[in-house]
Symmetry: C2
DNA sequence: ACCGATTTGTTCTCACGTTCACAAACTCTT
DNA sequence: AAGAGTTTGTGAACGTGAGAACAAATCGGT
């Protein structure tokens, strides 16, 4: 018997699949909200914007939660995915850097509704201390250790300027935070065992610009006129 | 002679490479700012947080811009990457949805400094019209078409609630926008030829939560006490 | 002009992720 | 109870990406 139970920690879920589970979870919630109790892999795949074979394979890593000939029970599958991701429990989170982006993050309702609780907002600028953002008071960065210790925080969000990001990360790691979501446009170096995910607004736009430029160039090249001069002449 | 010149539109750059080019660009800019004129692939790879072999392979897709035995000229390589991505030109951008996140995006200096110019802020809520955010007036959503036409906008940013996102996207596509950066937590369906990139804050946190949970479970399983009760009993 | 040191560009191999295709398993009708 | 129709779960083929390793090219010293 080599079947892996869903509580077997040795069972490995591919990273690409993990990244899609939250999408499935959201799609299932949307289906449940419209009163749908059962759905096929095709239905769910459409709602999640993926191929149904990929969806089935992804779900198969979690276990066998569907019924052949029928499909998936929406609520049951939703619970299983939520449990797998870990959003059935509450995750305390600290946000460091309360500028424009920090404000937006603190106010973002999508966190709270998915099991993430913002327990503190921190900023190095003392003039911000005491300000209330989304019902939480901004506190000095120095209080990070006490807060992380008190609330058993494992996840930190960095929304500072790039220049401060590494220092903040170092401090977080030293205090015991093991997962960091980094919005600052800088490469963080952290020790083994600490997970970092990066969200970089301008990189996303640059990727779009690249493809946009290619579309334009392609159209240009396809047009019968104006062969593009090579840079060599300039 | 099958060599592909850098202006050959048929030359294909892998998507994974495209996504890293902006990181290299940023790292090069940082190096240039510290007065460094030349760097090896090892130096740049370290600054960008990647493996040097991967970096060299990525750069090789653009052309042969290094010198063996020496390395890369920082300014020259920076220009070549910027040109490849398309950030040597100016990209007009519209932002739709001026809530907390829209404000943060409008104020984000990283856009402007990388060739993206916010030409308009739009919101369906008429009570926001006329408000000035980051030096740009908020205008009614209806003016999208005129603005896109006037400024030749190809890239749109959606920062609305999920419920409005698909409608906004449809409208953008109808008007001629071909690249969309979507911050709303919803799956957009768009026709062939339109690029969509998604930034989803809560998905990133959920991915971290998954790994965090696994770390905790692993530690628990390793500990000699407390076998985890299966959900079946609950 | 040659030799050793250095570093790029590229080839080869392996791992990962996606998609197809189908057998297994379930429901419903007769 | 059996067969037709569905739909899942998975094995196999394919494509893409990562990393190691090395040949080609350049520089500096003698």
């Amino acid at each position: 018997m080599t079947a892996r139970s869903s509580t077997d920690p040795a069972r490995v879920i591919p990273e690409a699949t993990v990244a899609r589970l939250p999408v499935y979870l959201r799609a299932l919630t949307a289906l449940a909200d419209t009163g749908i109790r059962t759905c096929s892999s095709e239905d769910l795949a459409t709602a999640a914007g993926v191929n149904s074979a990929k969806l089935r394979k992804d779900l198969s890593y979690l276990g066998s939660y569907g019924t052949r000939g029928v499909g998936y029970d929406v609520d049951y599958l939703r619970y299983q995915i939520a449990r797998e991701i870990g959003v059935t429990q509450d995750w305390p989170v600290v946000i460091v850097g309360i500028g424009n982006l920090g404000h937006a993050l603190a106010n973002y309702s999508g966190f709270r509704s998915r099991g993430f609780r913002v327990v503190a907002l921190l900023d190095a600028d003392p003039s911000l201390s005491g300000e209330i953002v989304a019902g939480v008071a901004v506190r000095p960065f120095d209080e990070l250790e006490a807060i992380v210790h008190d609330h058993d925080v494992a996840i930190g969000v960095i929304a500072t300027p790039a220049s401060a990001a590494q220092d903040v990360a170092d401090r977080m790691v030293a205090i015991g935070i093991t997962s960091i979501l980094n919005f600052a446009p800088s490469v963080l170096s952290v020790p083994e065992g600490v997970d970092v995910r990066k969200v970089d607004l301008s990189i996303e736009l640059q990727i779009l610009a690249y493809h946009e430029q290619r579309k334009a160039n392609g159209a240009e090249a396809a047009a019968p006129v104006a062969p593009v001069a090579d840079g060599g002449a300039a």
